[in-house]
Structure formats: structure tokens, C-alpha cells
């Protein structure tokens, strides 16, 4: 694995290998007083974030630190970006300083692909390789989120293959949904997208999943459900009549929770809008796996850094 840009680049064996490594790292660190492995000592990991983010950036930073990598955070705000520097120049500058891995979040779909392309071209002349990790690019993908979701589902359900997973909400604008559809289907799950037609992309029929519009009808047959955040700017974009109507049709409330099979995990990539797509009582119910997702996020990102910078374990 040279970069992690899209789940589409992972076959089932590679994805399973990453999840296995994450699980082993989790077991290794469990109960330890000093949560630090020497694996990536002397390696430099830079997070380059062009969007506000707390959980993803911190998660990557902790993952790097627990692996003993030197981690540096670059926020687009207050950097040369505000002086009009291009993405190409900024990313190549960071590579040239010796970053072994650049973790990038950017509002433009495909930004990580572009950076990887520039880095590879540069490596062709300088011989120094930089791995690029996509930490969310526009409305395209968020591969480590899908991996941590799959890790959580494996924990809760024992396996992903053969399970039916519902993804509910704003699929159109969701990079989490795109990565999850690809990963869960690659791992053998049946994915059902549940959303109003206005929040589904044209062309979704060609995705490896099924599409439905009525949440109540789907819930009883789901092994797990993943709620997507409804971003505030969408509420005024005419995608649905009102927050109230959305919540009534697609919000996961206590009544709906009861429609799910007993103990079926409820996932949410966060940040949650309580009372909108998820009722507070559901967010805090035993089914809710939200904090487990966050915990697994660190281990999954450790696994990604490990595979990229130290090579996949035999």
C-alpha cells in the first residue's frame, strides 16, 4: 500500500489485513500504562487540514504519537495558503521537508489524489517517497472513517460479511457514505441506503448497494444502522421541506430503535445533531456505538500508518 486515497483501491484481503492489525494493536495496548509502541520512531507524519476538524485530526495525531512518530499539524488557516499558495506548492513543500506521510483533509473532492500524483512525480526525481492518506476530500471519500466503522461492526456483530447494514440520511453530500458503501460491500455486507430522493446522487443505482426511501420498512431487517449527519447548510438548500419533516421521516427515535433487532448497533460518524437525525435517548442507548467508533478510530489509523510506513506485517 503506497497511499490510502480511496476504499476503491482496497481489495477484501488488504482491508481485512488493516482491520486485523487494528484489532491486534488494540489488544496490545489494552490496559497498558504506557501506550506507546516504538514502531514508527524517527518517522514524520504531517496532518494537513484545509477544513475544520477536531476528531479526525486528533485521532490521527494520537495514532501517530502512540506509534512514536513525530506528528506535526498544519492547518490551512494561518499558513501560506492564506497568502494564495497553491495546493500543489503547499503539499510539495511539506513533502520536501521530509514528511514520510501527509494526512490531508480538503473541501475539494479528489484533492488527496492530486497531492499523491504530485508527490509521486516528485519522488520520481528526488527518490524520497511520501505516503498520502485521504482524511476526507469534499464529498468523495473518508476511507479511515469507513475502516473504523467496519472495525466497530466486526466487534459488535462478530463479522461484516453477510450482514445487512443500513446507511440513513444525506448520502448525496456524504464522503462517509461513499467510503462505507465501498468497504462494506467489499467485505461482503449488504448495504441499504435509506434517504429521500433529493439526498441521493444521480447514478446511485450503479453503486454496490440497494436504495430505499422508507426507514420504518427497512429497520426490522437490518443488522446495524448508520446515521449520517444532516449538515446545517443542507437544511436551507431545499433538499427537504423542513428539519421537522426530515426528523419525522428519517430521524432515529426510540420508537424506531425498537423496530431494529435487539441489540443491533447504531453508528454515527459524528458530530451528532441530537434531536435531528438521532434522538438523545438513542444516542445514549446501549446500542449506540458512537464512542466505540471513536476508540477504534485511533487503532485503525495506527494500522493505516503502520501498513503505509512500516509495510504490511507478514
Amino acid at each position: 500500500m503506497k497511499h490510502l486515497l480511496s476504499i476503491a483501491d482496497l481489495d477484501a484481503a488488504t482491508a481485512t489485513g488493516l482491520l486485523d492489525t487494528a484489532s491486534r494493536l488494540k489488544d496490545t495496548l489494552l490496559g497498558r500504562e504506557v501506550r506507546k509502541l516504538p514502531t514508527l520512531r524517527g518517522r514524520t507524519v504531517v496532518t494537513l487540514f484545509y477544513e475544520d476538524s477536531t476528531r479526525t485530526r486528533v485521532s490521527f495525531e494520537i495514532a501517530g504519537k502512540w506509534m512514536s512518530a513525530d506528528t506535526i499539524n498544519v492547518s490551512a488557516k494561518g499558513s501560506s495558503v492564506s497568502k494564495g499558495e497553491s495546493l500543489r506548492d503547499t503539499s510539495l513543500t511539506i513533502s520536501a521537508m521530509g514528511a514520510d506521510c501527509v494526512i490531508v483533509r480538503h473541501p475539494a473532492s479528489g484533492a488527496a489524489h492530486r497531492i499523491a500524483g504530485w508527490a509521486d512525480k516528485d519522488a520520481g526525481t528526488t527518490g524520497t517517497h511520501t505516503s498520502i492518506v485521504n482524511a476526507g476530500d469534499g464529498t468523495h471519500e473518508h476511507p479511515t472513517q469507513a475502516l473504523l466503522d467496519a472495525a466497530t461492526l466486526r466487534e459488535r456483530l462478530g463479522s461484516v460479511a453477510g450482514r445487512r447494514i443500513g446507511i440513513v440520511g444525506d448520502v448525496l453530500h456524504s464522503r462517509v457514505a461513499r467510503s462505507n458503501v465501498l468497504l462494506l460491500s467489499t467485505l461482503g455486507a449488504e448495504v441499504v441506503l435509506i434517504a429521500p430522493p433529493t439526498l441521493l446522487p444521480t447514478g446511485v443505482a450503479e453503486w454496490p448497494c440497494r436504495v430505499a426511501h422508507h426507514l420504518d420498512a427497512e429497520l426490522p431487517a437490518l443488522d446495524a444502522v448508520m446515521m449520517l449527519r444532516v449538515q446545517a447548510e443542507r437544511m436551507h438548500g431545499g433538499f427537504f421541506p423542513s428539519a421537522r419533516e426530515y426528523s419525522i421521516a428519517y430521524g432515529l427515535n426510540e420508537r424506531r430503535l425498537a423496530l431494529l433487532p435487539e441489540g443491533a448497533p447504531v453508528l454515527h460518524p459524528g458530530p451528532m445533531v441530537r434531536g435531528m437525525e438521532i434522538a438523545p435517548a438513542v444516542a445514549d442507548a446501549p446500542n449506540a456505538a458512537v464512542l466505540a467508533q471513536v476508540r477504534n478510530g485511533v487503532h485503525v489509523r495506527m494500522a493505516v500508518l503502520y501498513h503505509l510506513l512500516a509495510g504490511a506485517p507478514e
Binding site: A8, S86, L87, R88, H106, P107, A108, S109, G110, A111, H113, R114, G117, D137, G138, T139, H140, E141, R175, R178, P201, T202, G203, V204, A205, E206, W207
Partner: protein
């Protein structure tokens, strides 16, 4: 020197003849012609076509000289077999006054390689709010014959109605960039399976189709001439066919890239493939080819749109839309239309020279290859093969989507009123 003896040329690919040019006009056509003290062009048995006419180019001057100038664009045009081009008005300042269009026309004449016809803006500043001074531009030294807000659609139906009505008395054509901007807010790619997978906001085909449907109705009522720029969606074809059947004065163009390239090229996010309207599906390119062969689409126009690398070597969303086209257009048409048997050389002459000249109201371009007609030609070696290299093209920018692609057909020479403007891949200054 506008006397020239052209030997062994095959007009429209037919029997080889010699042509004697006197004062820029074909004086004699025959075999074994000789003339004393006259420059000669050995056509080597290649195909002779009337000089190509491009209704849609962006020469970027004034204001965008880092991407193209009228000089470099004229070089690209001559090398591509073109003898007349229509320069779109989305420059800085916008070509919405007599001053700017006269400047463009004059710079074209100074360079002298190709007739540069400025297209005037329909509305002031391309803002779509208020008609520009069309009449003044028509009667200016630039003699504007086509108006367009290209790059932007004249979205307001009332402004479009007024533009068509006003233009009908001036005997000029309104060229519409058909895109309902309300349906394409933030659009980055053809709305479909590829864009949905790549997370690129979709440019729905309906945004083109609905504007064309509206505009043909407005043109019908105004009795005005409407030209539809860069048709890209197969759904637009039915609308155009119906309008033509009704006798509406509507013409349409397709770009070479919409004949050949599809949104399948977007997967690497290389913005060299970003263009507006966007690359669509294989079904669309196939429909474009058939519509061009049928005549529902009248002409090929390049939408030659140079962008300096800082506008292209970026993340997809930040990149400007557009691609080079002048030097690859004929090769793409040979590849997509001639090789599959959809057009013969008469057909190529029609869609790349005769019909564009007619739509653009140019009396001395797109003429038959005959005695008494202007000696304005493109000489084409149909058997040549070449590999496209952006850096080797004459434009200032190198944003060609055909980089590394092997294409058929080469322009051996271009002749403008008896004067050789390009020869064997070199501009003749």
C-alpha cells in the same frame, strides 16, 4: 504575394488537380498547369479542403495573455487548418463595446494568419442583465456578426427574448451557452454514475436541454437566428431536431471533445478533463456523432480554451474549465467521423468550413474549391498519424486532454487568400 501554383491536390479527396491562384483567387483549375515566377505548393496528392472556420475560440486577449494571445492563438489556428475564427468575448475587459471588439479585430489583422472575428457580448459585462450595444458593435470596424455571453448563459428569459428580437433587425446571430445556472450551481462534472462515485457535484443534462427548448421557442417567435454552442447531451438532439422541423432558424455546434471524450476520464481527477459543458457519457458522444452526420448538429467548433498551468494544475474544484482544441480538431473529426464512415470529405468541408461560414455570415470563407473563388484552403494528409504533445502545440498554454494520444490526419498546409500561413507544421510568417 498572393499568386500561387498548387500542384497535385485532391479537392475533397477526389481527382488530383493543379490550381493556379492569382491575387488570392483561384484563376484556373486543371492538370499540368505551369506558371512563371509564381510560388508553388506541391500538395503531394493530399486532400484539399476549403479553409476551416471555427465559430468558437477563446483567444484570451485582452486580459488573459498568460494563457493565450491573439498571436499565439492565430498560430494554433493556422497550424490546425483554420482560416477564420470567432473569438469569444469573455476577456478582461469583456468585448462588450466597439472599442474592445475593434482591438481584437485589429490585432488579428496585424498577426495576419487567420481572420479573427470578434464575437460581441450579448449583455454588458456578461452579467445577463442589460443588452450590450449590439448595433454599435455591428457597425464598428470590427463588423461583429455574432453575439454571445459564452461561458455564461443568458439565463433571464426576458433578456434572451429581447436579445433575439433586437438581433433579428441587425441580421446577426445570438450564440447561446445553454446552461440553466440554477440547475448547475457548484457543478463540476456530468451528473451521472461517475460524478456520483467521485463526489463531484453534477451538471445535469437537463440544464442544457431546457434552455435550448426555451430558446428555440423564443427564436421562433422573434424570427431570429439562434446558434447553440457546444451541444453535449443526447437529450438536446431531439429538441433541436423538432425545432428544425418547425423551421426555426436554429443552428448548433459540437466540440471535438464531445465527439470523442467521456466522463470515464475523470477518475484520476486531472483537471485537464474539466470543461464546460462537461464530458458526458459514451451514449452522448455517439449521439453527437450521429447528429452531426445527420445535420441536426450543423458544425464542429472547438471551444478552444487555453488555461495557463496555474489554473489547471490544481485540485479539481479550483481548476478552470476548458481545453485546447484548434490543432487537434480536424484529427478528432477524422477519427470520430471520417474513419467510421459518418462523413466523407465533402461532409468535413461542410461541418468545419461551409456551414460555419454561413452561420457566421462570412461571404469569403467556406467557399467551393472552384475558379473565381478565394484561394482559402486546408491541405490535409489523411494517412498521417501523430502523437499529441501539449508542450509542442502553438498555444501559450498546454492544457490538451489528448496528451500522448495518437491521432490520424495532419494539416500539411493552410492557405489564406493565396497566402500560405502554415506549412508542414510550421507557421509561415
Amino acid at each position: 504575394m498572393t499568386d500561387l501554383l498548387i500542384t497535385n491536390a485532391k479537392p475533397y479527396g477526389e481527382e488530383a488537380v493543379d490550381l493556379l491562384v492569382r491575387d488570392g483567387v483561384v484563376a484556373e483549375i486543371g492538370t499540368g498547369l505551369t506558371a512563371e515566377g509564381v510560388g508553388t505548393l506541391d500538395a503531394g496528392g493530399h486532400v484539399l479542403l476549403p479553409g476551416l472556420v471555427d465559430l468558437h475560440v477563446h483567444l484570451r486577449e485582452p486580459g488573459g495573455e498568460e494563457s493565450e494571445t491573439i498571436e499565439t492563438g492565430s498560430h494554433a489556428a493556422a497550424l490546425g487548418g483554420f482560416t477564420a475564427v470567432f473569438a469569444m468575448p469573455n476577456t478582461d475587459p469583456v468585448a462588450d463595446t466597439a472599442v474592445v471588439v475593434e482591438h481584437v479585430r485589429r490585432r488579428g489583422e496585424e498577426v495576419g494568419l487567420v481572420d479573427v472575428h470578434p464575437v460581441g457580448a450579448v449583455t454588458t459585462g456578461l452579467r445577463g442583465e442589460k443588452l450590450a450595444e449590439l448595433g454599435t458593435m455591428v457597425s464598428s470596424a470590427a463588423q461583429v456578426r455574432m453575439f454571445s455571453d459564452d461561458g455564461r448563459c443568458v439565463n433571464d428569459p426576458l433578456i434572451m427574448r429581447r436579445a433575439l428580437e433586437y438581433a433579428s433587425a441587425l441580421d446577426v446571430v445570438i450564440a447561446q451557452h445553454a446552461e440553466d445556472h440554477r440547475l448547475t450551481g457548484g457543478a463540476q462534472a456530468h451528473e451521472g454514475a461517475i460524478a456520483s462515485r467521485l463526489g463531484l457535484a453534477g451538471w445535469p443534462a437537463t440544464a442544457e436541454e431546457t434552455v435550448i427548448a426555451r430558446d428555440v421557442a423564443l427564436a421562433r417567435e422573434a424570427g431570429a437566428a439562434l446558434h447553440v454552442c457546444h451541444v453535449s447531451s443526447l437529450h438536446s438532439i431531439a429538441v433541436l431536431r423538432a425545432a428544425k422541423a418547425q423551421g426555426v432558424r436554429v443552428s448548433a455546434e459540437v466540440t471535438p471533445h464531445h465527439l470523442l471524450l467521456t466522463d470515464g476520464r475523470l477518475t484520476g481527477y486531472d483537471p485537464v478533463n474539466k470543461v464546460n459543458p462537461p464530458l458526458r457519457t459514451g451514449a452522448d458522444t455517439q449521439a453527437m456523432r450521429e447528429a452531426l452526420a445527420e445535420g441536426v448538429i450543423d458544425v464542429v467548433a472547438t471551444d478552444h480554451a487555453p488555461h495557463a498551468s496555474q489554473y489547471k494544475d490544481t485540485e479539481w474544484a479550483a481548476a478552470k474549465p476548458g481545453m485546447l482544441g484548434l490543432q487537434t480538431a480536424l484529427s478528432v473529426v477524422i477519427h470520430t467521423m471520417v474513419e467510421p464512415g459518418l462523413l466523407d470529405w465533402h461532409g468535413v468541408a461542410q461541418v468545419m468550413s461551409e456551414r460555419p461560414a454561413e452561420i457566421g455570415n462570412l461571404p469569403d470563407q467556406g467557399r467551393p474549391i472552384a475558379v473565381g473563388e478565394p484561394a482559402t484552403f486546408a491541405l490535409v494528409d489523411p494517412d498521417a498519424q501523430w502523437t499529441v504533445r501539449g508542450a509542442a502545440l502553438a498555444s501559450r498554454a498546454a492544457n490538451t486532454p489528448y496528451e500522448g494520444m495518437r491521432l490520424p490526419g495532419a494539416v500539411v498546409a493552410t492557405v489564406l487568400r493565396g497566402r500560405i500561413t502554415a506549412r508542414d507544421g510550421k507557421v509561415v510568417a
